[in-house]
Symmetry: C2
Subunit: 312 residues, 2 copies
Amino acid sequence: MVSVNREIVARMHSPVALIPELAGHIVAAGGKRLRPLLTLATARMCGYTGEHHIGLAACVEFIHTATLLHDDVVDESDLRRGQASANALWGNQASVLVGDFLFSRSFQLMVDAGSLEVLRILANASATIAEGEVLQLTTANDPATTEAAYFDVIRGKTAALFAAASRVGPVIAGRPDTDADNLEAYGMNLGLAFQIVDDLLDYNADQGALGKTVGDDFREGKATLPVLLAYARGDKKERTFWRRVIEDLDQKDSDLEQALSLMQARDAISDSAKAATRCAEDAKQALLAVDGESELAETLADVADFCVSRAY
Amino acid sequence: MVSVNREIVARMHSPVALIPELAGHIVAAGGKRLRPLLTLATARMCGYTGEHHIGLAACVEFIHTATLLHDDVVDESDLRRGQASANALWGNQASVLVGDFLFSRSFQLMVDAGSLEVLRILANASATIAEGEVLQLTTANDPATTEAAYFDVIRGKTAALFAAASRVGPVIAGRPDTDADNLEAYGMNLGLAFQIVDDLLDYNADQGALGKTVGDDFREGKATLPVLLAYARGDKKERTFWRRVIEDLDQKDSDLEQALSLMQARDAISDSAKAATRCAEDAKQALLAVDGESELAETLADVADFCVSRAY
C-alpha cells in the first residue's frame, strides 16, 4: 500500500498546478483505500510475483477518486472524508475537469500495465459505474423504489468497481476463469455489503467518526434501503410522511428523528444490517472456493467483516 | 461516415434509458463529425483495409461528445448545436454522468479494436484535453493572458484530440513513425486553426448558421485570441474597458458592440484570422510529407481549408 500511495502521488502530477492541488486534497484526505487493497491482495493471494499490481491498484483508486469528485458535484456535497469537498473549495468546474483528468490518467496507467484483458475489465466497470449513477438519478426521491432497483443501483455505482478490482488480481496472476469469477463474486458481494452499510451509517453513525454529515442522504431524499423498507412496510400515515420528506423534500428539523423512529419500528435498520451481513457472508463463501495463499485469503475475509462492522 | 454513425447509435445503448435519451439528443443534433472523419480518412489514405477504423472513429466522437457534455456543465451553456443543451434539459447531474458513461464506452470500443498503441494515443489525448480545460479555467477572465498561454489551452482542449484522431489512422495502417508524426502534426495544426476560428465566430458569426449564441464567450469573459490581442495592443483606456468587461464581468448591453469596434481598430479580428490561416497552412504542409492515397489527401487538405472558411 505504501508503493500504491507513492504511485498515486507520482501519477497525479501535471504541469497544470491546479490538478495535483485539487487531486492532492482529496487523495491526502485519505479514505479507506479498500479498492486498491483488493487488487493487491487478490494478486498476491493468486501467487502473482510481478509489479504491475501496484500501478493497477493506483489506477483503481484513480477511477474511484474521479467518481467521488463527480459525485460531489452531482450531490452538491460540502463535506468529503471529513474535510471541505473539492467542489466547495474550487467549484464544480474544476471538480468535473480534474475528475476527467484522473479518469484519463487511470487509463494511461492501465496501458502501461499492458494487458488488454485488464483494460476490458476496468473499462467495463467504468461504464457500469456511470450506468449505476444515472439509474440512481432516476430513482432519486422515490420512496417506493423497489429493493431490486436499489440493488441494481448499488451493484453499478459501488460494487462493480470492487468486483473489477478483485478480478484484476487473478487475471494478472494468470489464474483460470473460475478463480477470476469467484474473486469477482467476492468483490461484488463485498461492494454490496459496503454500500448498504454506507447507506445505514447515514442514519445511525457517529458524525465525528464518519467524516461526513449524518443525515445527508435524508436531506437529499435518497431512496436508500432503510428508507424503502420503512416505506414498503409503513401504513398510510407513514407513507404520507415518507412522500413528504423524501419525494417533496418538505422537511422540518424534527423529521430526521421521526424517520429514525419509524425505521426502528419497522425493523428497517436491523433488516438493512442483516442484508449487509448476508452479502458479506456470500463474499466470504466465494473466497473459500479459491485456492490461494491463506494469509491473504484471511485478510480478504477480514475485509468483509470490517465492511459490515465499520463505524465510518 | 454512415457506418460510423450507425456504430455511434448502436454503442450509446444502455439498459438505463436516460443514457441513450440524453446522448441521443446531443449526437442527433449533428455537429460536424470532423474528428471521426480524420480517423477514417487518415486510415484509408495510409492504405488501411481493415474495419477497426469505424469503431475507433466512433470512439473519438464519443470522447468529443463526453467533453461537450462536461463543457456545457462547466460553461452553464443553454445552447449547443442550435438546440437546448443537455444540462439545460436534464440538469448538470445527468450531463456529468452521461459524459462519464460515453467516456467509458469509448475505452470499451478501443479495447474491442485490440491495439494497445491506439489506447495509449487516445488515453494520452484524453488526459491532455482535461489538462487544457483546467488550464483554461485558470486563465479565465484574464485579458492579459499571453498568446503562448492561449495556445497552450487550445492545444490541450481542442487540438490534442484532432491530433490523436489523425495519428490513429497511420498507426492502425502499420505505417512508420514518421508518417504517424506528420499526420499527428496535421491534426494538431488543424485543431488549432479550428479553435481559433471557433473563438472568432463568437464575435463575428451569423447566429442562425452558428447554432449557438453569439457573444457567449464575451459574456463569460473568456480570454480568447481576439480579446487578448485587443487588450495587448490597447491603450490605457481600452485596457480599463477590457478589465471591466472580461475580468469583472461588469457588462452593459452596448459593450459587445464596443468590444467589436475596439477589436477592429486593433486588427485583433483580422490577425486572429491570419493566425488560423497560418495553422491551416502548417497542417497542409505536414500532410504533403506523407505518401498516401491522393484523393483522401486532397480531402484532408480541403478539411483544413474548410476549418478556416467555415461560418459555423
